[in-house]
């Protein structure tokens, strides 16, 4: 509101005028005569045009979504997670489960490693409201759910209706709780194996000439190569078991959807019986002949001899082989690190305590 205003206009000669406009005061809004009004109106009109365009586009999309709603998408309840850790026989089980008509396996997308590695590892200290995976569980789960389903749908558009997608995720099991929370209606297989056999297999692959060591040597794998010291390999392998099987167990215990716990040793001893139990507990209908054919196709005997043996991906398929492969010190190290899980899943086994 101006407190003083003076406008003076004097004709000093014919057609010539002298003027004085003076104004002073206090204001809460823009100062009088402040430029930018026209520019702002133009800006407002420009924005209106933008909005009109946006509305037209969105209305078009809404019309399309009403008439062409995608049909036959993957049902979240038909996602079957396979958690555990590496070297527990997940490739074998996954290959068998890939065979029945309408069933498909997604071989290690590592989506669990993406979210789990960050949430429980690198980003664990950013669990507050600002962290991308921090804050309330439901918000995090909603974002992860959308990510998984979009990726699965794009990768496997053919899996729809009554089809099942078996996601073999041993190396992503460090994110198992997050994935299971994101898809609570999904099904879950928790595949375990004696940690001493797992570490023994690990040691064989990572030792000089082993398939993992060779993969690094030939550039098929990058990053930090595995340690060459057997003791370091054993310690690292046992710690990974503890982490990955531990996370899988956490997810398994909390999961309210259909789930089944499978021990590799039982799968080896009675493959058909265990497969029938898996499908039964997961509530997935199975054709016994089809499953029997899958078992035969993927049996140990059908793997070419040159692909099997020490240092190779297909090594022994013999439970208890650790007794020959590991030294007493190595056994003790594995048992010390994985003790609680070993006792939980193999209560009938005596802890050897360093070669007793």
């Amino acid at each position: 509101m101006p407190v003083y205003r003076q406008n003076i206009l004097l004709e000093v000669a014919r057609g010539i005028k002298a003027f004085l406009n003076f104004e002073a005061g206090l204001t809460r809004g823009p100062t009088p005569g402040e430029g930018g009004g026209i520019q702002s109106l133009e800006e407002a009109h420009k924005r209106l045009e933008d909005r009109n365009r946006q509305i037209a586009e969105l209305e078009k999309k809404v019309r399309e979504s009403r008439s062409d709603a995608p049909a036959g998408d993957l049902k979240p309840e038909n996602v079957v997670w396979m958690f555990g850790t590496a070297r527990v026989g997940s490739t074998w089980l996954g290959s068998m489960m890939d065979e029945p008509t309408g069933h498909t396996m997604w071989h290690e997308p590592l989506v669990g490693a993406l979210f789990g590695g960050f949430y429980y590892g690198r980003g664990a200290h950013r669990g507050g409201k600002h962290g991308i995976l921090g804050g309330p569980d439901e918000k995090r789960s909603r974002a992860i759910r959308a990510f998984i389903l979009a990726s699965a749908h794009e990768k496997f558009p053919e899996v729809s209706g009554d089809g099942y997608l078996v996601v073999k995720e041993p190396n992503g099991s460090n994110g198992a709780p997050l994935l299971a929370q994101a898809l609570p209606e999904s099904r879950m297989i928790f595949l375990v194996r004696d940690p001493r056999d797992v570490v023994s297999s690990n040691l064989s692959g990572k030792s000089e000439g082993g398939w993992t060591a060779e993969a690094y040597k030939r550039g098929r794998r990058q990053g930090t190569p595995p340690p060459s010291d057997p003791k370091a390999i054993v310690r690292k392998g046992a710690k990974k078991y503890l982490e990955f099987i531990g996370r899988s167990k956490e997810a398994y215990d909390a999961h309210e959807g259909p789930k089944v716990l499978v021990r590799y040793e039982e799968l080896r001893a009675d493959t058909l019986g265990t497969m029938k139990r898996i499908y039964s507990e997961l509530g997935i209908p199975m054709d016994e002949d089809e499953v029997a054919r899958a078992i035969k196709k993927h049996s140990w005997e059908n793997i070419p001899e040159e692909k099997k043996g020490e240092g190779k991906f297909y090594r022994k398929a013999t439970p208890g082989g650790w007794r020959e492969d590991l030294t007493p010190d190595q056994i003790q190290m594995v048992e010390d690190i994985t003790g609680p899980l070993l006792q939980e899943f193999y209560p009938e086994q005596q802890i050897s305590r360093a070669g007793v």
């Binding site: 809460r28 209305e59 999309k61 979210f115 991308i132 909603r142 794998r221």
Partner: protein
């Protein structure tokens, strides 16, 4: 034609200004409109603008409804301005100033860039694997998923975000993922904030001392409690147990990776972007802020901006929060000359050489 025109306005308090206008002169024909007449014209314009605003609000409401029907996002990609670079570049300062604009909000280090970027780098050998969730052949698919992930998360974090607002995502620690994020959200604006790497390393060395802000305030304690310190995947800014030499080398390496990736994203980004040197921001804060908003095509009120700059100035930080070992350390550039030894300077210059030469071609900050 006026012979003399003077327009003076002084901010007395927030939203209260004193003004003094003086026009005087001699003309042939019609005298220029009086200030009163100008005010009447402006009042009419204001009325029209108000009507346009009303119409805009109606359209925004309609758009929100349609997006809701489509399952759209609260925060649009075009409403986001990312701040990339690396740690200790003054991103907290810059982001705080940007946050205080009208309808602006700031997301403080979600680390979404680290989530996707670090994983993508670590899994480089798997990118050709057709099953890998971030495989090369499915890049368009997962970029769309990353986009939705960011926008869903931003919407959940800022549910009442204004349609014409600006969400400043301060992401120095997530700059490793800048190329992925900018490719996934090309409509977003990008600020590449750089600082002389020698000053950054000097600042990190100070932060690495036990008892400093980094130890007390950042993740080290929490990581310790979770048994994560020293893990293979510990972030490079986890200083625990490291010698001075290791901190210098790690921080310089981090600079190379984080600023390097930010620069790659900046070069590839076709949208709105601006390169800012911390040293320029420090030397002329208001001028640099104006340049930032101008290049990002974001409207700001000049007086509001001046006020914000004043409120966030070094002088306004309480003395007890400033100094060695604290988050606000020096607020100066070039202090590395006093803080680093010659060997340390050499290590930083060797590791960060290409970036140092590019951003500081004269060799000094």
């Amino acid at each position: 034609m006026p012979l003399f025109r003077s327009r003076t306005a002084v901010q007395l308090a927030r939203n209260a200004r004193a003004f003094l206008y003086l026009d005087t002169g001699v003309v042939r024909g019609e005298a220029p409109p009086t200030l009163e007449a100008m005010e009447e014209t402006q009042a009419r314009l204001r009325e029209q603008i108000e009507e346009a605003r009303w119409a805009l609000a109606n359209r925004d409401h309609r758009i929100s409804g349609l997006e809701k029907e489509l399952g759209g996002h609260t925060v649009g990609a075009g409403n986001i301005a990312w701040i990339f670079g690396t740690v200790r570049t003054g991103s907290t300062w810059l982001a705080s100033m940007m946050r205080d604009g009208e309808n602006h909000a700031m997301w403080n280090e979600p680390r979404v860039g680290e989530l996707f970027g670090s994983f993508y780098e670590r899994a480089a050998h798997r990118r050709d694997n057709e099953n890998f969730v971030m495989g090369t052949h499915r890049k368009l698919v997962w970029l769309k998923s990353v986009r939705d992930f960011v926008l869903d998360s931003a919407g959940a974090r800022f549910p009442k975000f204004a349609r014409d607002g600006l969400l400043v995502i301060k992401e120095p620690s997530g700059s490793i993922g800048a190329p992925i994020l900018m490719e996934a959200l090309p409509e977003s604006a990008m600020v590449l904030l750089v600082r002389d790497p020698r000053d950054i390393v000097a600042s990190a060395l100070d932060a690495a001392r036990e008892g400093s802000w980094a130890y007390e305030l950042r993740g080290t304690k929490r990581r310790e409690r979770r048994g994560l310190v020293g893990a293979d995947d510990a972030p490079l800014d986890d200083f625990t147990g490291k010698s001075q030499e290791e901190v210098v080398e790690d921080q310089a390496t981090m600079y190379l990776r984080y600023v390097g990736n930010s620069k790659r994203a900046f070069d590839a980004h076709d949208g709105r972007k601006v390169l800012v040197r911390y040293e320029d921001l420090l030397a002329d804060t208001l001028g640099t802020m104006k340049r930032i908003y101008s290049e990002l095509e974001i409207e700001v009120d000049g007086e509001d901006l001046a006020r914000i700059v004043r409120e966030h100035s070094w002088e306004m930080i309480p003395e007890e929060e400033k100094g060695e070992g604290k988050f606000y350390r020096k607020g100066a550039s070039g202090a590395w000359r006093e803080d680093l030894g010659p060997d340390q300077v050499k290590v930083v210059e060797e590791i960060t050489g290409p970036l140092l030469r590019e951003f500081y071609p004269d060799g000094t900050a």
